[in-house]
């Protein structure tokens, strides 16, 4: 780990706190900055620092270490602790790196989609959202998780509603997201209350230890688990609790959609893993039953029904949103196996899907930016009108389908291997069948774009008008990353194994 030498000792320890506190503070300042350009630069600097810090933390855990940071020097379980281990650093890095890429992308995109006087507050809300997501991933305190969950959710409602200047339906979508998100958070906090009643502590490691001593605890712990599962399930869009997602993704500003699609549900899924496998444990039979039957069953239902719904959408963003529901299903299927291989596969797909969906939504944002296109039939001729963007979309789409030499293939291969090892041959069949559905919903868009002529306006064929460089760069970074993972998946799989090691799982 030669690269670790570039990161000073204090950063390795204090980085966990820095990555959360910095965007939180700067978000407040950002909101009152007079100029949007200044706000953008501030945001860029903050998320860059977060990314570098997160990378440092990632290197620390790749070295096999974990760090427990004590807030204000108070010892846990009384004080709040931040935990850096193999399970959360990849997600921390994912969130901050995606924040950096979307910020770059935002320079043209936000100007096009958000009203001028709201742009500085927009960046402020974005930074607070980043802080919330990072906080809920990094913290080791259960109540702190709830706080950050709310911080991120509330700022996300605001961000989705900002899409109103582009599409008035954003307001209704944000409202629905607000109602459901609040219900989810309430369920979660009720679950925490029960848990506190059972164990008398809020530190996650401490709860885990106490529950082990109680061998799973009484009915109270079981009810707590039920509430927490449903609360988090809503946040991560577990089928059939996904109903807030398509609207929010379709009508939010492109910038927000990209960021939400590749980080928000992922952070919630991380929490689900954290709670099901380390706070609770699969050695408790009620946890194992829920994980094995409910996660797998709902995951498969999401894969099939989500994909089918994606096929019939007339709005490309909704197609991808329903595809996200299906992809969450893949992750849940991997988690539902509860074996080391299955958890690795689910975690790898969590990372890969963030990369792939990020790239696809970037491309959709660029289509809207240049031509105002969101409906699927308007894709006609995009292969000629925006060859580079459409190229990125095509490669991302292939990756989503799971064509060899792309990240999606690695995910599906891992999942299939894990399913075979678990003895679940039918799961391989479901994976194959839903991949075919993915071919249909992605292929439909790609075929329209390449095999139909560009539209004519006043007798003239619409001219080529490629997306600006600031959009193409982040888009192609993700596409290149997806291909790189497809060719050499070692580092992603290693991250997955690291996470699976922390989670344990059944043997």
């Amino acid at each position: 780990m030669g690269m670790l030498e570039f990161f000073p000792e204090w950063l390795q320890y204090h980085g966990a706190a820095l990555a959360v506190v910095l965007p939180l503070l700067m978000g407040a300042i950002c909101a009152i900055l007079p100029s949007e350009r200044l706000a953008w630069i501030t945001t860029l600097i903050v998320v860059s620092i977060c990314t570098v810090t997160a990378f440092g933390l990632l290197l620390v855990t790749f070295g096999g270490e974990s760090v427990i940071y004590k807030m204000g020097g108070w010892d846990p379980p009384k004080g709040i602790s931040y935990v850096i281990d193999g399970l959360n650093t990849p997600v921390i890095f994912l969130i901050s790196a995606m924040a950096l890429l979307t910020t770059l992308y935002g320079l043209p995109s936000v100007v096009a989609e958000v009203e001028p006087k709201k742009r500085a507050p927009f960046y402020g809300a974005f930074l607070i959202g980043v802080a919330g997501l990072l906080g809920m991933v990094v913290t080791g305190d259960a109540f702190n998780v709830f706080v950050f969950l709310e911080v991120s959710s509330i700022s996300t409602y605001v961000l989705v509603a900002m899409g109103a200047s582009r599409d008035r339906r954003a307001l209704a979508a944000a409202y629905r997201y607000l109602i459901l998100g609040s219900i989810g958070a309430t369920f979660f906090v009720i679950g925490l209350g029960f848990l506190y009643m059972e164990t008398g502590t809020l530190n996650m490691a401490d709860i885990g230890r106490k529950l082990q001593e109680l061998e799973g605890g009484s009915r109270v712990a079981m009810v707590a688990f039920g509430f927490i599962t449903v609360g988090l399930g809503l946040k991560l869009a577990m089928f059939p609790l996904h109903m807030w997602l398509p609207g929010a993704y379709a009508h939010a500003p492109s910038f927000v959609t990209v960021f939400l699609a590749s980080t928000a549900t992922k952070a919630a899924l991380y929490l689900m893993l954290r709670f099901s496998f380390t706070v609770f444990d699969v050695s408790f039979d009620y946890v194992l039953t829920v994980v094995t039957y409910l996660f797998t069953g709902l995951g498969c239902a999401a894969m099939v029904l989500g994909s089918l719904q994606a096929i019939f959408q007339t709005d490309a963003r909704r197609t991808l949103a329903y595809s996200s529901v299906a992809q969450v299903g893949y992750m849940l299927l991997g988690v539902g196996m509860a074996t080391s291989l299955g958890l690795t596969a689910g975690y790898v797909h969590l990372l890969n899907h963030a990369v792939i969906k990020g790239a696809l939504f970037f491309a959709l944002g660029a289509f809207w930016y240049r031509y105002g296109i969101t409906r699927t039939e308007d894709f006609a001729g995009l292969g000629k009108m925006m060859p580079w963007t459409m190229g990125a979309f095509t490669l991302g789409g292939l990756s989503l389908i799971g064509v060899p030499l792309t990240a999606g293939f690695i995910s599906k291969l891992q999942l299939a291997e894990a399913a075979l090892q678990r003895g679940w041959g039918w799961a391989v069949f479901v994976i194959m069948a839903t991949s075919i559905l993915a071919i249909i919903y992605i292929g439909r868009l790609i075929l329209t774009a390449y095999f139909q002529a560009p539209p004519e306006i006043d007798g003239e064929v619409v001219k080529r008008n490629e997306a600006p460089l600031m959009m193409l760069i982040p888009m192609w970074i993700l596409v290149a990353l997806s291909i790189t993972i497809g060719v050499n998946s070692d580092f992603v799989v290693q991250a997955g194994q690291m996470a699976a090691e922390v989670l344990g799982g059944i043997s």
Binding site: A172, Y175, R176, I179, L180, I183, G184, F187, R219, M222, V223, F225, G226, F227, T229, V230, G233, L234, P240, L241, M243, W244, D285, Y286, L288, T289, V290, Y293, L294, L305, L308, Q309, I311, F312, Q313, T314, D315, R318, V487, N488, S489
Partner: protein, 593 residues
């Protein structure tokens, strides 16, 4: 291993030049971005020549030419050459050069690029040493060649989609078969050792899937329809290029995997016979040639099934001859199509006046396929028939002889007769462009050379898998038998033409040895065709109904207007959330019992 390669340019270069297909594929990708036509044409011509040189260099040191890389826990043998793959490599390169000359006049970036990638994939596939590498090039060949079909115009698009679907299916079956096979061998994907022909038998795990995959690609009976569907619809140059590689790559895979597998003898024999009937009643001459392509493949499949040294020699030699003469025939029909605008027998005729050179070349091709002495198939086809006789497969031999007669009828006489002679259609067109004439001339020369008694066929023999197994084609017996057969046919032809006994449409039919049988065959073919049309029409209605209904159902469920997307503001999801909680609690409660 991958890191190692990318860090060492020499290793990378060594890998790149190891398999002759790679440079052709590379040239193909280069072509896609080259704006200048001359530069592209240079690449199209030079790449196969360079590849042929690499084959020659590798053939000098067969063991030393082997290259493998390891990636993802599997060994990919990028290059593995033995005498079987060597001749395939040479033939593909040769066909590549001829096709390049033939397509010299055409200014089309897509054709140039996809032709090169396609050809490179075929060459690379032939030298692949494991199933995974083979699979990659198998699919690449399908993906790149479909553009050639699509260049055929509006009509060709659906045919191209069907072509692609069938070939992807073949690739998937190949992969599935390979995985099943490799699992029984502790994940050893090796595609036969060098010099080992027929390393699988049908009882081995996965072998049936592999055979179906290869069977689809080389047009086994009832798996063959894509050939007659796609080839006649492709562009002028596209058909010529397509006819050389796809089926021949599959044939190679079959020869390596299943040589000596008895069932192939009978599949091959049936394959030679049944296209004859369809070719007789077909009007589109390029389609007639597609059927005859199928029939020639049958000879080679049969030879692979026999699997003796002589038979394998026959397969390899007939492959070389077939690629050239079938290419030549497709070239001549392509020239006709280009100049006249159609290749339909009923609209052609009398073209020998305006296209004399094309006529001569087409006649040489027709003579070659009909196995006239001194023309290529005389030497090569008889090797396969002779080895059937040596194995005492007399029924099979009879079928092959019958098929040879059929070939004489539909490719040897029908194609040139209807295109260039017959009743004069009154069409006066320009002779084919010079580059097409050069390509056809070279191919004609090769047709003569491969059967040339003084040094010609001996040269071909020296490239065969078993060069020491010598077959003498020019024995008195063989020459006399063949000449009797052919002269009888020609006599009948001349006689009937003189007497003007038969109306135009039936002329082609009488020129056969056993016209009653042929009429019966035609009757059966027509009847089957009619029944098939009726059946498929009915099936199509049922299928359409079914899909429409299923589609409607799905639409009602899943579309934005469907049941699953009802726009209940927030009430329904909230209820669902509550329902989920109850469900989870019940599950948790029951788990504790």
């Amino acid at each position: 291993m991958i890191d190692l390669i990318f860090k060492n340019p020499e290793v990378l270069a060594d890998m790149f030049f190891s398999n002759p297909g790679f440079i052709i594929i590379f040239a193909g990708f280069l072509c896609a971005f080259l704006p200048r036509n001359e530069a592209r044409k240079f690449l199209v011509g030079a790449a196969p020549i360079a590849a042929a040189f690499l084959v020659w260099r590798a053939a000098g040191d067969m063991d030393g030419a082997r290259r493998a890389i390891e990636a993802g826990g599997n060994e990919f043998v990028l290059m593995r050459i033995d005498r079987l793959s060597m001749i395939w490599g040479y033939v593909f390169c040769l066909a590549g050069v001829l096709n390049a000359i033939y397509a010299l006049h055409e200014k089309c970036r897509i054709t140039d690029s996809s032709a090169l990638i396609y050809m490179g994939a075929a060459v690379a596939g032939v030298f692949a040493g494991d199933f995974l590498t083979l699979f990659i090039f198998w699919e690449l060949a399908a993906l790149s060649s479909v553009f050639l079909v699509w260049k055929g115009g509006e009509n060709a698009f659906p045919a191209g989609v069907r072509y692609l679907a069938i070939h992807i299916l073949s690739g998937v079956l190949l992969l599935a078969g390979a995985v099943i096979y490799a699992r029984s061998k502790e994940w050893d994907f090796t595609f036969g050792e060098a010099g080992e022909y027929g390393f699988l038998s049908l009882q081995d795990p996965g072998a049936v899937l592999l055979m179906i995959a290869m069977g689809i690609k080389c047009g086994f009976p009832f798996l063959h329809n894509w050939i007659q569907d796609a080839y006649p619809k492709a562009s002028v140059t596209g058909t010529v290029i397509l006819s050389a590689f796809t089926t021949k790559l599959a044939l190679y895979a079959l020869a390596r995997t299943f040589a000596g597998e008895d069932i192939l003898i009978y599949i091959g024999a049936i394959m030679t016979c049944f296209p004859v009937f369809f070719a007789v009643i077909e009007n589109d001459l390029r389609r007639v040639l597609s059927y005859s392509l199928n029939n020639q493949l049958g000879f080679m499949v049969c030879g692979i099934g026999l699997g003796t040294e002589l038979a394998m020699n026959g397969v390899a030699a007939h492959l070389a001859a077939d690629v050239i003469f079938k290419g030549l025939l497709f070239m001549s029909m392509g020239a006709v199509l280009m100049r006249v605008g159609t290749a339909k027998a009923s609209e052609l005729g009398g073209l020998f006046r305006s296209m004399p050179y094309t006529t001569i070349f087409c006649l040489i091709g027709a003579g070659s396929i009909a196995a006239f002495p001194l023309l290529s198939a005389f030497v090569t086809k008889s090797m396969i028939i002779a080895s059937a006789m040596n194995q005492h497969e007399y029924i099979v031999m009879g079928m092959l002889l019958f098929a040879s007669a059929g070939v004489m009828e539909h490719s040897g006489i029908k194609v040139p007769y209807f295109a260039f002679f017959s009743h004069d259609s009154g069409k006066r067109v320009k002779e084919a462009p010079w580059n097409m004439l050069v390509a056809m001339g070279l191919a004609s020369l090769l047709c003569v050379f491969f059967a040339f008694p003084w040094g010609g066929y001996q040269f071909l023999y020296s490239l065969l898998p078993f060069p020491e197994n010598y077959y003498a084609p020019y024995t008195g017996n063989h020459v006399v038998t063949q000449l009797q057969l052919l002269f009888a046919a020609m006599l009948a032809f001349a006689f009937l033409k003189r007497m003007k006994v038969y109306p135009d449409e039936r002329r082609a039919e009488i020129l056969d040895f056993d016209w009653t049988y042929r009429r019966l065959g035609k009757g059966i073919a027509v009847w089957i065709d009619a029944m098939w049309t009726r059946l498929s029409a009915n099936l199509a209605i049922i299928r359409k109904d079914f899909f429409a209904k299923a589609g409607q159902r799905l639409y009602h469920m899943f579309s934005p207007a469907g049941t699953f997307s009802v726009g209940a503001p927030s009430g329904l999801p909230t209820l669902l959330t509550g329902g989920m909680l109850v469900l989870v609690l019940i599950v948790v409660y029951l788990a504790r019992l």
